[in-house]
Amino acid sequence: MNPLAILAALAALVAVATLLGLIWRVRQGKVTAGSGETITAADLASDAPLGASATLVQFSAELCSRCPGTRRMLSTLAADRPGVEFLDVDLTHRADMANRFNIMQTPTTFILDRSGRIRARIGGVPNRDSITEQLNDLTGRNNVRIAA
């Protein structure tokens, strides 16, 4: 290949990588509908009970650099709201659970309603505002900020 054609090929590779990165970034933290399945604390191998009005379930694993930050954010959001619990599930030793819930990346977050139904699923690092919005819907708290 002549040098010009090679440089064009390299530029195309950089463009493809950029496109992949942008797609990945857009999909990170996107809230999608949950399966609607109703689960219990026992299904998550959790000793702690689910929240009275909502539960944030974070699936983590080893070698996940984004998991600790997500854990801090979600546990703070839950602590600020009565009736909302936060559960962190480590999948490193639980391939069965990862398969059952089809976890493709960590962190993955489920938002459960008062009955334990999976209402929303978020792959990757969640966005604080989207979680707040979901929790406001589930706990019946009005978000005054969007009144305008």
Partner: protein, 159 residues
Amino acid sequence: MSESPRSTGIDPRSPRFGASITGILLLVVLFLALAGAATAALTLLTAIAALFGWGAFAGVRRHPYGLLFKAAIRPRLAPPAEIEAAGPPTFAQGVGFAVTAAGVILGLFGVPYAVGIAAALAFVAAFLNSVFGYCIGCQLYVLLVRVGFVHVPEAARAQ
């Protein structure tokens, strides 16, 4: 300082800095491979694989790019907003090592395009890591757990 790579934090910008150097070198490999300079391409890819191996087996904190970052770049930056565990970038180095070492071995056996394809794949991963902060451990590790590739003894949980 503790010797355990899992228990000691690193500046998250350090692996991204290293990945940018690696990414540029991988583009050079691809250029050489496409230009027909097969020996030069294979030699440079071997050097890159050795550096990945260094990071993967000695831990990312002992990697030369990490030391360069610490000595030359970090003093010029504000302190990091957050310290991250060294485990995930060390795992990423292992993935880079697997891909580039496969390219080197196939290249040595004369498999056509092996060096260029390995360089292109590793470049995409390095680029995503460097530019977008993509964490390959977050994406890949849980999939390895699911296919049963990762078997951590129950005893290790108690740590």
